[in-house]
Structure formats: C-alpha cells, structure tokens
C-alpha cells in the first residue's frame, strides 16, 4: 500500500538537476507540471492563479533541490509546495469567505448526515446534460473550502494515499481522513442540491 518511496527515475533527475543539468529539470517539469496544474487549479479555482502557483512551485523546487533530502518522493514534495502556495494564494486573494479550518460552519452538512447512497441515481433526470453536470460540479467545488478542495484533488484525482496526503498537506494522517470524509460528504450534498435533489433526512443546506 505504502508507495511514498523515492522513485529511482525521479531521484536520478533530481540529482542531475542539482548538478546543473537543465535538461533533467525540464524532464521533471514535463513529468509533473500538468498534474501540479490540475491540483493547483482545483485549489485556487482560477487558471491565472493556478499558472502562477505552478511556476512559483517549480522555481522553488529548483532553488531547494540542494536541501531536498529525498526522504519522501519527489511528487509528494512538489505537491506540498503546490498545496502551500495554493492555500496562501486563496488567503491573499481573499476568495475564501471563511477561515481555513476543518469543521467550518459553512462546510458542515446539517444533522448527522452520512455519505449519500447516490448522487446521480437520486435525480429523476439522471440523463442530464453533461454541461449541466459539469456546471454543478464546478459550483460545488467553488463552495468548498480550499482545504477540502485540496484533499479531494490529492485523493480523487492524484490518487495519493492517506500517508502521502499527510506529507503533502503537512498534517497528521487522522486529520487527513477526517478532512477527506467531511469534504466528500459536503461535496455529495452540494452536487445533489445543485441537481435539484434532496439529501435524505434533510434540510436544505445553507452554503
């Protein structure tokens, strides 16, 4: 399960980059920049900001190569930098309207709501337009806190393990599991609400 071990190819590219081999650093960039951009965009929700986050992340990575001890994998290290820059940017830009915490009133689902049995399946118009579905997904992501968006991107899109996420985000594994659980539950309810459904047991949410 544990796969947060240094990748030999990455190690070699890092070593060569450290020695001044720009082609090696370009290869690292080619290997990871799209994924870094995807994570950054998931957090900051703005293409220009995502672009700047990725640029800054790779510039920092290059500058810090001499300090990188390789105790975790390169991409976990890169994601940590992308994550921190993304969160910093959302704070600076004040695009978030709430504090960066796990148990946010805004991110809570009313009552003792659990993970939902279905999202699309509960909608009578399940054969909905893909554009409408995408719009719902985007607006639901927008309504999440940056911290919750970050864990969803790292887990659902990048497939990081809990331990890798903990290293990337810089917190305990238990915190990651809790944060991911709340993020998923919140996201499910937001999508369902957007699609016109009603959560079981439930009051409408106040996003």
């Amino acid at each position: 399960m544990q796969r947060d071990v240094p990748d030999r190819d990455d190690e070699d590219l890092v070593r060569r980059s450290r020695e001044g081999d720009h082609d090696a650093f370009r290869l690292l960039y080619e290997r990871y920049h799209r994924r870094a951009y995807s994570v950054a965009l998931g957090i900051v929700r703005n293409p220009d900001d995502a672009r700047e986050v990725v640029q800054e992340a790779f510039i920092k990575v290059h500058g810090y190569l001499g300090s990188f001890r390789g105790s975790s994998s390169f991409y976990t290290w890169l994601y940590r930098i992308v994550h921190n820059l993304g969160i910093d940017r959302t704070r600076r830009a004040k695009v978030q309207h709430v504090e960066y915490q796990d148990h946010l009133a805004r991110d809570e689902v009313p009552g003792d709501a659990a993970l939902l049995p279905s999202m699309l399946g509960m909608n009578p118009g399940a054969e909905m337009d893909r554009t409408e579905l995408r719009a719902c997904l985007e607006s639901s992501l927008e309504a999440l806190s940056p911290a919750h968006r970050a864990v969803l991107m790292l887990r659902e899109v990048e497939g990081l393990s809990y331990t890798e996420m903990a290293r990337s985000v810089g917190c305990a594994k238990g915190t990651i599991m809790s944060r991911l659980f709340h993020a998923r539950r919140r996201m499910q309810h937001l999508i369902l609400e957007c699609l016109g459904g009603q959560a079981p047991g439930g009051a409408k949410e106040t996003a």
């Binding site: 998931g42 810090y64 001890r69 399946g121 599991m177 991911l180 996201m187």
Partner: protein, 168 residues
C-alpha cells in the same frame, strides 16, 4: 448491518489490510444500501477525475516553462533561511524514525546550550556525556552531568517514544 462511513471510506481508498477488507466485502455482499454508498463514492471520483483531466490539458505548458526558465536564468538562490526551512520540513515529513534522532539531538542541544549559559557552571557543559540507544519502540538518551568536584553528579535519562501512529 450497515457499514460505518469511515470503514467504507477506508475500503474505498484501499487503506484497509486484507482481513478488514474481506470483512467489508462480506458486509457489502449483504447490504444493498452500502453498495450504493460505495458506488456514490465512485461516481464522485469519476466526475472529479474527468474534470481534472480536462483541466490539465489546458495547462499553458510552454508559457509556464518560459517563465520558469527565465527566472532560473536570473540565478536567484533561496536564502539560507529558506533552505533550512525546506530541509527541516523535509526531515519532519520523512519516515517516522527520523523524528527520534531529531528529538534527541534537539534535546541534547538545548541542554548543552542551557548549561553553557549558566555562568560559573559553564565548565560542566564540557563534561556532559550523551549516549543514545535506539531499541524497539523507544530511544533512550543518557545525559551524565558531573558535579563541580568531578563526582558522578546527576544522570538524566530521556526516553523518546515512537511517533504516534501516523505510519501504516
């Protein structure tokens, strides 16, 4: 029987060991609501991956690289503080056993610093003996502080347990 949310989530994420995963699978076989909840997690993952994959194709790859290359050409090196910060962060994000020597080293440095600053007793600091033994689950560090007359003085035993279960 309904599976607990956190168990279902850990199963979905592949975080359970084989025996727990088999137990969840037996529960899933008997519970249609749980199978639907599991399917809902999969739905959301598919939606998010589809969106992210499309977004990644819009990454302005060449434009970003041009900017990065330009900045690197300026040759700005991070400050010592920035490098130390990253090195420290990397150390603490690494395998759990790195916490142990780091904690022992920090404790030894703090003790030595405190003794060195204690004026007339500064000579004692030169005589501090430190031994660190790592064994199953703990690290024991011994600080032997002789008294001013050269006697055995005080021995301090510092026990550092393994870090708290963040690793599988």
């Amino acid at each position: 029987m309904t599976l607990r949310d956190h168990e279902l989530m850990r199963y979905f994420d592949g975080d359970l060991d084989a025996s727990d995963a088999q137990r969840i699978e037996r529960g899933l076989a008997e519970s249609e609501p749980d199978r639907k909840r599991l399917a809902a997690l999969g739905e959301m993952r598919s939606l998010l991956r589809g969106t992210a994959q499309q977004a990644s194709t819009t990454a302005p790859s060449e434009a970003m690289w041009t900017t990065i290359r330009g900045e690197l050409a300026k040759g700005r090196r991070p400050s010592l503080g920035e490098r130390l910060s990253v090195a420290w962060s990397d150390l603490w994000a690494g395998p759990a056993r790195l916490w142990i020597p780091a904690t022992a080293t920090a404790a030894a440095l703090i003790l030595a610093f405190a003794l060195a600053r204690s004026g007339p007793r500064a000579a004692i600091a030169r005589d501090v003996v430190i031994e660190s033994v790592e064994t199953a689950g703990v690290t024991a560090t011994v600080f032997q502080i002789p008294d001013e007359a050269g006697g055995d003085g005080i021995a301090v035993l510092w026990i550092t347990p393994e870090s708290e279960g963040d690793e599988k």
